[in-house]
Symmetry: C2
Subunit: 274 residues, 2 copies
């Protein structure tokens, strides 16, 4: 029976925090197979009762009580959810009491945005940064490169674009990216557009086998995707980055979050979203 247990991540907002925390907790039990279900926007008493019924029905079907990991803010709603036949782990309530004691004030228990000015500013920075990343993807626009916070360089398909977008979405960083291509290797010079911006360049590299795999999915059977070509481009790009004193990271076994967080830290970028 144990192989069919269900874990719910429940929240009165998007559920993304509950899901990230819950998922990383459960990966610590990798021998146990759990079905993970995120349930966002449980923000009324009615929805809370509906969720309790869903949890109880699931437990009856599974033959074992579910796990519920919660970031519910409202105590009345959390109180209803706590009545479900489940292991209820309330990541919010558990920390509110010690924080109230430490800070000497009561928590508001308000669902939603306490900091609406902050949210507006974050929204603005995020949209600006996403637009910036989109219009400076893959060297598309050479304009306003000087307004970037960082410019990622590296061979085609090494992971520059998603890393730029993550930097923009999560941290509000204006990240451009510029490909290093065979033409640059023949001269062993940086492209003219980014040469004068050397102190904001950051490199990504990748293992040839992985690059070959990615490129082959995109352009199967092309010269571009051959092992020889991938090895050549990576070797030359790394040599050029070393020659120019550009720090670089190997993206092969790193997630987009890890790449973005590492670059934020190493390049000492100042984030615009908190």
């Amino acid at each position: 029976m144990n192989s069919k247990r269900t874990a719910f991540f429940v929240s009165d907002r998007t559920g993304i925090t509950a899901e990230m925390l819950g998922h990383s907790l459960l990966t610590q039990f990798d021998k146990v197979h759990l079905k993970e279900i995120t349930v966002p926007f449980i923000d009324t008493v009615d929805k809370a009762h509906g969720f309790v019924r869903r949890v109880n029905d699931t437990g009856a079907t599974d033959g074992v009580r579910p796990i519920v990991i919660s970031t519910l803010v409202n105590t009345e709603i959390a109180g209803i959810v706590a009545t479900a036949s489940a292991l209820f782990l309330d990541s919010f309530e558990i920390f509110i009491a010690p924080l109230e004691k430490e800070l000497g004030v009561k928590a508001s228990h308000a669902i939603g945005r306490s900091h609406s000015t902050e949210d507006f500013v974050n929204y603005h920075h995020r949209i600006e940064a996403v637009n910036y990343a989109l219009s400076h993807d893959d060297g598309v626009s050479k304009r306003n490169l000087a307004e970037s916070d960082i410019i990622l360089v590296g061979v085609s398909r090494c992971g520059k674009t998603p890393t730029c977008l993550y930097l923009a979405m999560q941290f509000g960083i204006r990240a451009a990216n510029y490909p290093l291509i065979p033409e640059d290797f023949s001269t062993m010079q940086l492209p003219a557009q980014i040469k004068t911006l050397r102190n904001r360049l950051y490199g990504l590299t990748i293992k040839p086998a992985r690059l070959q795999q990615i490129r082959n999915e995109r352009r199967p059977g092309s010269k571009y995707a051959t092992r020889d070509n991938c090895e050549f481009e990576i070797r030359e790009a790394e040599a050029l980055m070393r020659q120019e004193g550009i720090p670089y990271l190997d993206a092969t076994s790193k997630s987009v979050e890890e790449l973005a967080t590492t670059i934020l830290q190493e390049a000492k970028l100042e984030r615009r979203i908190y």
Copy 2:
């Protein structure tokens, strides 16, 4: 003194979970001003000792002990961090014991990926989805629209692009977007390219005042950005969406996360990333 207290979000990985949980906890205390600092990649004993020194130095400077919110997985590292002069809230350890009891197995306490196959699959889905969103942004490519999971429609600058990118990054959803433009309103017909895909269309709308503000930042003083034109486009777009039975959301006061999560839920999309 209390106005200069510091909160650290510490992790052996990217710190994004710690920061999201910590930030949402602290917004419950909106009268207290805290400086929030995320400290990722504390994954060795040496780094843990360095972090303890930083916390203690900060407390001495602030004149009040910091708050440390942790998702540290490794018990040795967490044990060192716990020796700092701070309120230490360990969101990981606090739930590991009840989960071990419930699941009847011990947690691995391994930093990093327990599920490396899963991570590889997630990476693949995310990159594919991001590439899809980029190549189907703003109606750019009409090819392969039938391969989309969802197609967002709405007037220019109502928030389609960041929502598509968030759907791609967080959930692995292939989200295209297609603008509704004055030409469509004169015929009150959907663009031909998306007409046959009606059951996967989802609309965004926005309040005229907000749209005017956003468009005016982009093209100051243009007709495109006038209040009259914004009101006209929004009214016509909403009428067209109602006529065609396309569900739509008001993006004005919603964050990108809220829009993406709501669409995921309402359109019953099957996410590819967990």
